[in-house]
């Protein structure tokens, strides 16, 4: 059976927030809400490191990493168990979804989610532009919403928007039950962890840290058909020696992805000023 999951390589993530912004646009997420966030591990505020500058040539202790986070699509999801009207449910393919028609806005699921993945529409949702963005309808005031792994795209054989728009190839989406899928191969090959493993929620988002994976350039069906003349990507799984860091073919992949972005999806990605990229909208 299909069981969708996501791998995020934290060594590849450059904290650019392209995933958060493309999620917001694709899913018509209202102003003031985020389904997908990139947190900074380090200092107290976004994009600030912990530690201090080196002084007098001494060792600096600055440290900063990124923690992309969204609904983890838990296999053993407390949000599903607690919903009294079965508005939050798990699809056959493992995606945790909300039936917005059924949701009565009790917010019990929000309290039960240990990942803070859900948001509540306090007010009538506001969109910019007003008619909304992306390929899904707006959710009404008074319901809870969250990341759906872009199930509307997955249903058409496409990867989630955050995966396709990650310029660092840090996100890989696929079938965890298929041993041959890239997600499964990455989970087998690299050291991965899940968030809050001790809570028993069995999240289906895995994080790679420690050793950088080759990444996986995302060429969805749609993009492949649009980009017949663009260089073909290799699967890349075996391309990079285990200790090569950012060198090797990962570097050439990064160079190549720009041509994909520029040619195919440049207009689809909003140009958000850096100062606003991590803000509330």
């Amino acid at each position: 059976m299909t069981n969708y999951g996501l791998v995020i390589d934290q060594e590849r993530c450059i904290g650019c927030h392209a995933c958060a912004i493309s999620c917001k646009q694709e899913n018509n997420v209202p102003m003031g809400q985020f389904w997908n966030r990139v947190l900074t591990e380090g200092g107290d505020k976004m994009d600030t490191p912990s530690g201090g500058y080196p002084t007098d040539g001494g060792n600096g202790s600055l440290d900063m990493q990124y923690q992309p986070t969204a609904c983890q699509h838990c296999e053993n999801a407390p949000c599903v168990k607690v919903c009294p009207v079965n508005a939050t449910y798990t699809r056959d393919d493992g995606i945790v979804e909300i039936d917005y028609e059924k949701c009565i806005g009790c917010r019990y699921c929000m309290a039960a989610c240990p990942y803070n993945a859900r948001v509540f529409n306090w007010d009538e949702p506001e969109h910019m532009p007003e008619e909304g963005t992306g390929d899904v309808p707006a959710r009404p005031q008074g319901v809870v919403e969250k990341c759906t792994f872009c199930s509307h795209r997955v249903d058409e054989g496409l990867d989630p928007a955050c995966v396709v728009n990650c310029p660092a190839d840090a996100r890989i989406f696929g079938d965890l039950d298929d041993e041959a899928s890239t997600v499964s191969k990455y989970i087998n090959q690299y050291e991965t962890h899940q968030l809050l493993e001790d809570r028993g929620t069995k999240p289906k988002t895995y994080y790679i840290s420690g050793e950088m994976s080759p990444g996986r350039p995302q060429t969805s069906d749609k993009l492949e058909s649009e980009l017949d003349d663009v260089q073909v990507w290799s699967d890349g799984t075996d391309d990079v020696p285990a200790d090569s860091g950012s060198g090797g073919s990962a570097g050439s992949s990064t160079g190549g992805i720009h041509s994909v972005d520029d040619d195919a999806v440049g207009d689809a990605v909003p140009h958000v000023p850096a100062v606003d990229a991590g803000g509330d909208d």
Binding site: A20, G32, Q33, F34, R37, V38, L39, T40, K45, M46, Q67, T69, C74, N76, A77, P78, C79, V80, K81, V82, C83, P84, V85, N86, Y89, T90, I104, G105, C106, R107, Y108, M110, A111, A112, P114, Y115, N116, V119, F120, W122, L195, L196, D198, R199, G200, T201, K202, G278, G279, D280
Partner: protein
């Protein structure tokens, strides 16, 4: 509500405070929500079975929502 910098892995005691804040002002029973949320995490954690969880809250859920459609309902569970 959606401060992107909010902690991702809050320890349980802090999480409970957050849970209370989330449910504060909701037109449904806040206290029931906090208790159920805490126990739903316990169920995921294996400290409580689906059936125990369902049974523990069935009456209160019926009282509060007029129905109980949680997927934790054990086979043969008497709804009345």
């Amino acid at each position: 509500m959606s401060n992107p910098q909010q902690p991702r892995l809050t320890p349980l005691p802090e999480w409970e405070e957050e849970a209370e804040a989330m449910l504060d002002g909701v037109e449904y029973d806040t206290d029931l929500g906090v208790r159920m949320a805490r126990d739903a995490i316990r169920v995921s954690n294996g400290e409580l079975t689906d059936a125990e969880f369902h049974e523990k809250y069935h009456e209160q859920v019926m009282e509060e929502f007029g129905k109980d459609e949680r997927p934790t309902k054990p086979e043969g569970f008497d709804d009345d």
